[in-house]
Amino acid sequence: MRGIVKRFPGVLANDNVDFTIYEGEVHALLGENGAGKTTLMNILYGIYTPDSGTIRVRGVPVKLRSPRDAIKLGIGMVHQDFRLIEAHTVVENVFLNHRELGFVPNWRSLESRLEELASNYGWKLNPRARVGGLSPGEKQQVELLKLLVRGADILLLDEPTSVLTPIETRMLFKTMRRMVEDGKSVVLITHKLSEALSVSDRITVMRRGRVVLTRPTSEVTIEELSIAMVGTQIEGVVSRARGEQGEKEPILKISNLSVMGDSGVLAVRDVNLTVYRGEILCIAGVSGNGQVELVEAITGLRKPLRGKIILNGLDIAGASPRRLFELGLSYIPPEGKKWGIVPELSIYENVALRVIRRQPYSRLGMIKWESIIKTAQRVVTEFRVDASSVKARAGSLSGGNVQRLILGRELTTSNPLLLVAAYPTKGLDIAATEQVKRILLGLRDEKVGILMVSEDLDEVLELSDRIAVMYGGRIVGVIKRSEASAEVLGSMMSRGVPVSAAA
């Protein structure tokens, strides 16, 4: 694949991407969520057509109009979410719409073919079992069989381990190696460094739609990879930190905080962290290391298991989001359209979302729409939300405008002491990103404490006064911006090795 470009409204998902798969290799396609990995593979599988660029398969230029074209060329993809019919059996799923099915299928011969293929990879699958009753690992095998019976020899696996147990993951990796021995090629899309390193022959790292690194697995270090995933040249980033200041007044003090994750394992382990007024503390790290759970615990969306969260002298562990808002904690949630706004409602109704129970926006349970509309108009003009009117549906706004609306609402309807911002610039274009950054810096200058989570190292280095690195649910170290270097951050993010060298 050469020079692949794919634009979606507001995002450049693939920016001039070159990508090569060799015969008989496991190629890991590594990158954070939203880096453009899945888009690239969807293009190769014919689901999307690229805006420009060429694809050659075995040297022949091809045009892929649909997955059917891709399958004909031996390219097969297993999506993150399985596309199986749960009420049907394994063999029915595998041979669905297969040309050998015929009008009256010879199930027995199909079953025996299936069993032969499965045993080749050491799988114990009953062809007559209903798919609904299978484990995620077995369902994945069914998906793989679907590709194998269609003769696929280039297999694209999108985050295949996200639904698997560690043992199933190991089995899958074994299968992948086995497939490669048979001369097939496997692309493993993942955001987990360890997986890429343990199973692949070559690694390509994508970030913000571009390929930033392609190298044989034996020639890269874990530090290099983690830096490539989250940022680029540390030395090239100009810091906008506020510089040293005299007094330090803590606004948020977290001690011994542990939080349960969705899967029932501890996502945040014994975290201690302090945020001071007038600083930006960035939490850096490869995503999925407990950042989201930590933020949710602070903002009242998730009950902490134990530990204290002191906001301005008050323990707020377990308090409701509304109470926290009233105490001066503002929050920019990740995925604004999902968490921050109600797309079906108008802009002014979205401005009312957090303050509807407060005067002057309502009294005795009755809403005062005039005062809400007035505030909404202020938000829209002061934060330059590009909308025809405050009565427009919030869902019709672009990502940058949604983010400005959320920021504007949080800052106009309250005077925050602490602002928690989770991935505030994710998915925004350059102009919108810069605007959000300026707002955050302006707040910092007004003595607001800011706790920001970002998976973009450039951004962390640009904005932060201090950087806390999270790894495996722990804060492995907090360093000053001036102490940040590629080595220090790389080793903390990839292995959770705390810094001792950095003084």
Binding site: S66, L345, R354, I356, I367, A392
Partner: protein, 358 residues
């Protein structure tokens, strides 16, 4: 061919799609009747005669009343994203509770003749409301799907009513008929100098207007809409999820219970098996057809009252079976679903070679 989500849905566009689909539903049902050997023009005429005489019109309003009450109630549930299919059961609970109060009254254990109306009203609303809280609590506690639980509770309620009518509550002076004692005049809603139909119309009019105001101007109404539209944002905004849901669902059930009271105290005068011909189900379609917008729900419920009254005429006039009306109702329901789809998606036929998003 592909379907694209529309970013903006205009009000006028939305209304015209719904009306267009409604007309289509009538045309298709006419075609079906024609094929079945009835005269479609005659059937259309029958429905419109219901609007031409004062007596017919009163009947239309009478039959619309329980549908309006239940359908307005459903607006509270549906706006919160609680898919309550149980208005029918809640309606039956209202009937049962009201009948219970009347039986007590006749046995001399009651609050007295002048307090009978408030007593039956309170009892029927409380019973309908509490009945609807069962599926709401099951959803909050165990995540049980309310579509299933509310539907199942309908059968429970109907069977409970049947048991009472055939068993302990059977009217001893009823010549063996399966029915309860008649409701006394003091248990009926009555505004002096006004007919029964107009009385009901005034009551449901006030309730419809109040509901409109609740959704437009109260924090509770706003928060229930947020809850129904985006559960994530409502948690972030700090909407008290459980208590808002319970309150809304209770109102929903209470209004269905009140509908039950009007059926037994006014429309048929006593409880009988099959006392409701499915008002609670008609209400589901009416609330959807009205887009959960109270004034529109009011109008679409009246349409259902018209259909029921017109259906009675046809049954008597040209021996069209009762299920004929149900065909029309089912088609209206389908039309509503299609209309929703047309409103939300733009249908686009892609040129070949442009890549089809699977």
């Amino acid at each position: 061919m592909s379907f694209e989500r529309r970013a903006e849905i205009g009000t006028r566009f939305s209304i015209s799609v719904t009306l267009g689909m409604l007309i289509l539903a009538f045309l298709v049902s006419g075609l079906i009747f024609q094929l079945l050997g009835f005269s479609a023009p005659q059937i259309y005429r029958s429905f419109f005669t219901t609007l031409t005489s004062a007596i017919m019109l009163e009947e239309v309003f009478r039959r619309s009343t329980p549908i309006i009450l239940a359908a307005i109630g459903l607006c509270y549930s549906y706006r919160m994203g609680f898919w309550n299919i149980g208005a029918e059961g809640q309606l039956y609970l209202g009937m049962i509770a009201a009948t219970g109060v009347v039986i007590l009254q006749k046995a001399g254990i009651g609050l007295g003749e002048e307090l009978l109306l408030p007593a039956v009203a309170a009892a029927s609303m409380l019973a309908g409301g509490v009945w609807s809280l069962i599926p709401a609590l099951l959803r909050i506690k165990f995540g049980a799907n309310e579509i299933i639980t509310t539907l199942m509770l309908n059968y429970t309620a109907i069977l409970l009513a049947d048991y009472l009518i055939h068993g302990p509550w059977k009217d001893p002076a009823g010549y063996g008929f399966a029915q309860t004692v008649a409701f006394p005049a003091s248990s009926k809603f009555m505004i002096p100098g006004v007919s029964e139909a107009i009385t009901y119309l005034m009551i449901v009019g006030v309730i419809t207007a109040l509901t409109y105001l609740v959704f437009r101007f109260t924090v509770f109404g706003f928060e229930s809409r947020v809850l129904g539209l985006n559960i994530f944002a409502s948690r972030y905004a700090g909407v008290p999820t459980a208590s808002t849901l319970l309150r809304g669902v209770f109102i929903s059930g209470a209004l269905a219970g009140l509908a039950g009271l009007i059926v037994v105290s006014g429309l048929i005068g006593r409880m009988r098996p099959g006392a409701s011909p499915g008002y609670g189900y008609h209400a589901i379609i009416a609330s959807m057809l009205g887009g959960l917008y109270p004034p529109a729900v009011f109008m679409s419920s009246i349409l259902f009252g018209m259909l029921l009254t017109g259906g009675d005429l046809l049954q008597a006039g040209i021996q069209m079976p009762k299920s004929g009306v149900e065909i029309i109702m089912a088609l209206i329901f389908l039309a509503t679903i299609v209309a929703e789809f047309v409103k939300r998606y733009r249908i686009r036929v892609l040129r070949l070679g442009r890549g089809v998003v699977a």
